[in-house]
């Protein structure tokens, strides 16, 4: 039964090959779209079957390894292509294929008429394959294949409209930026992998974690490995300091932003930490850094989101901020809470992006929310689903975001410190504010676009149905993890508990008996969300005259946020420009032209000079040669005899 997992991966691969090889010939968008999303849907069904099969098994029999074939066998390194099907990976598989399927269906409508229709679907299927390899890998090397694979697909899809302009450059530049920034992280991951092999003599998850358990907590090698893994995670999951690529990744088509840059790929870093929970639990110092990075990113990105005007840009910063929450959860050892937030975030953030796509579609490629407004009567379905998602992300009960975010905040307070909780709470109020600023400026009020030129209209069925499905999921998604304190069973927690048992045992986290503080914190965070929503509604709808006053009063802060804390500029000055300068002046004109070319050309010149002289030896008279010949033989004979 569990062996079916191979087909979960192979089906999208078939879709990729089919659309990639034949798509251009078929010319039928219907066939391409049906195959492209159909294979992902089938994958989802198979994964669901496996999930229910696992549900029926006793807990200790649930994790299984499905061997495919031996991949690399060199000396002591023995790597299998094998899929690890356990509670954690099957959850990710369900998210990837489920949300992936919905977004594929949405793309059928969204990408209609695009000349690269088949290309889009084949890339998307390839992405699903790579992501599934990533989450199902049973060793670090195969994991890395998936890790790089999703990076590649991300690159291909960000630059999908490669001839289109994006901000000051082209989408290709945005794609390059994403790829190069990710390489920094990948480098960290690669070195970590080498260190793991040196330390543990294996790359297999099972044996590495078993051997790691024998080490003492806080071993230097463990801290080094986990720090390097963290660098990898910050690259892929867009955390400080490597988050700069994600806002630019919005250059790609909107379904790509929804699938890759919100719901699935960017959570790979979080998944990796969850997968290596034992290694991280054994390195408390790294855990502290993970938590702080997450908390800082959550507030940092949310504050930038406050003032941006691009609809997708705001959502991008929101994604960074929410990923920060997941890192915060991982950092305080609340792995389940982090995975729970990953699940609910996949629902509501995908929904927000798809909703934004519907708006952009309706506004004829307009992305600036300052030139929108009053769209709710033109796009009723989009409006309703968007508000559901916004409420969910803001953390209003009983929507999904409330449960997951609250569990993170509570764990941050309980197992971390008041500082982490404070950052989380601050992030929550900012989130509520920027989300409803977005909702109000887009859908409420009066139109600020030119009604003579733009005629907003609701999106086709293939786009609205996915919105509705995701809206339902955003509402009920939280019910999988209602905490005990609210009378729920925390189903997700129970499901994932065996996976994280090892890490929890090492960390010996306190289990609180009294729920009083939890209730207070819960009430507090809901109140904060309400304040944020009310504030946005007040400033952007009811009393617009407040806005210019606020802006001029805090001009400095506003400028800082508007320019995204000048991070891009700082990186430009400190890294990009020096790299270019060094590359051009030193490496190109210095090293390449002078040293390398000089050496190669110099050798050639020396040889040609020597030849000019030595060729005179060849006079063309056969007898001269014969004399040399005989002389040589005589010399050899003399040497042999004497």
């Amino acid at each position: 039964m569990v062996d079916l997992i191979a087909y979960v991966v192979l089906l999208p691969l078939f879709g990729f090959l089919f659309n990639g090889l034949l798509g251009a010939r078929i010319r039928s968008e219907k066939v391409v779209g049906m195959v492209g999303s159909g294979v992902v849907g089938l994958s989802f069904l198979l994964a669901g079957l496996i999930f229910f099969h696992m549900l029926a098994l006793p807990v200790e029999e649930r994790p299984q390894v499905v061997h495919m074939f031996r991949w690399i066998s060199a000396g002591t390194l023995e790597t299998q292509v094998a899929f690890l099907v356990d509670q954690l990976s099957i959850l990710m598989v369900l998210i990837v294929t489920g949300v992936g399927f919905i977004i594929h269906v949405y793309s059928i409508g969204y990408m209609r008429g695009d000349p690269g229709y088949w290309r889009f679907f084949s890339y998307m299927n390839l992405f699903i394959v790579a992501m599934l390899v990533l989450v199902l890998a049973d060793n670090f090397l195969l994991f890395f294949v998936g890790w790089e694979g999703v990076g590649l697909c991300s690159y291909l899809l960000i630059g999908f409209w490669y001839d289109k302009r994006f901000e000051k450059a082209t989408t290709s530049d945005a794609a390059n930026k994403a790829f190069i920034v990710n390489r920094v992280g990948d480098f960290g991951f690669l070195v970590a992998m080498l260190l793991i092999y040196v330390t543990f003599g294996s790359l297999n998850f099972g044996s590495v974690f078993a051997r790691a358990n024998a080490l003492s907590v806080g071993e230097t090698s463990l801290i080094l490995i986990t720090l390097l893994l963290l660098i990898g995670a910050t690259g892929k999951s867009a955390q400080i300091p490597l988050f700069v690529w994600l806002p630019d990744a919005m250059a790609g088509p909107t379904p790509v932003s929804a699938l890759i840059h919100a719901a699935t790929m960017v959570t790979a870093g979080v998944y990796m930490i969850a997968r290596c929970s034992i290694l991280f639990a054994l390195a408390p110092a790294t855990m502290g850094i993970v938590a702080v990075v997450g908390a800082l990113t959550a507030v940092f990105a949310a504050s930038i989101g406050l003032v941006q005007n691009g609809i997708k840009k705001i959502l991008a910063y929101s994604t960074i901020s929410q990923l920060g929450y997941m890192f915060l959860a991982m950092g305080v050892g609340a792995f389940t809470a982090g995975m729970f937030h990953l699940l609910t975030h996949a629902f509501f953030k995908a929904l927000l992006f798809l909703g934004a796509g519907a708006v952009i579609h309706a506004m004829q490629e307009e992305e600036d929310i300052q030139r929108m407004g009053g769209l709710k009567q033109h796009l009723p379905t989009t409006y309703k689903t968007f508000v559901v998602a916004a409420l969910a992300i803001a953390g209003i009960p009983p929507l999904s975001g409330f449960f997951s975010k609250d569990e993170i905040l509570w764990n941050a307070f309980n197992q971390g410190s008041w500082f982490l909780w404070l950052m989380g709470a601050l992030g929550a109020v900012l989130t509520a504010f920027y989300m409803f600023r977005l909702v109000v400026l887009t859908f409420e009020g009066s139109p600020r676009y030119d009604p003579a030129k733009v005629h907003p209209h609701e999106a086709p069925k293939t786009m609205t149905v996915p919105l509705i499905v995701l809206a339902v999921l955003s509402v009920i998604g939280g019910f999988f993890g209602i905490p005990y304190s609210l009378g729920g069973g925390n189903l997700l927690g129970q499901w994932l508990e065996p996976t994280f048992a090892g890490a929890s045992e090492i960390m010996r986290l306190p289990t609180p008996e009294v729920h009083a503080i939890e209730y207070v914190l819960m009430f507090f965070s809901v109140a904060l969300a309400a304040v944020g929503i009310y504030g946005a509604w007040k400033v952007y709808l009811k009393r617009k005259e407040l806005l210019p006053r606020l802006v001029s009063q805090y001009q400095r802060v506003y400028d800082l946020l508007w320019n995204k804390y000048y991070v891009d500029e700082i990186y430009d000055v400190s890294i990009v420009v020096p790299t270019f300068k060094v590359s051009e002046k030193l490496l190109w004109r210095g090293l390449d032209v002078l040293v390398i070319d000089g050496a190669v050309n110099g050798i050639a010149r020396v040889i040609s000079i020597v030849s000019m002289v030595s060729r005179r030896v060849q006079v063309g008279v056969a007898q001269t040669y014969a004399i040399v010949f005989v002389f040589g033989i005589v010399m050899i004979l003399a040497w042999l005899i004497l």
């Binding site: 063309g620 056969a622 007898q623 005989v630």
Partner: protein, 100 residues
Amino acid sequence: MIPLNYYLALSALLFTIGVVGVLTRRNVIIVFMCIELMLNSVNLSLIGFSAFRGDATGQILVFFVMVVAAAEAAVGLAIIIAVFRNKQTVNIDEINILKW
């Protein structure tokens, strides 16, 4: 019975004459003949050894050498004729185009 040394001395003498001829004479045909002389001097020493050791292998080898030499003589003379038709000379100093 003539001692082996006599054969070897004659062979060495013929070989040396051949080498000197190849190196000093200018007429291609004579050079060519000198090469043949060298070949046959070697044949002579082979036969000498063969008779001395009472082993027929050397004589068999000589037959092979003679067959090859016959073929080589045909090819060599053909080349000389071809060169002569082109350059109207058999002087080896004037056939010197094989150079830089």
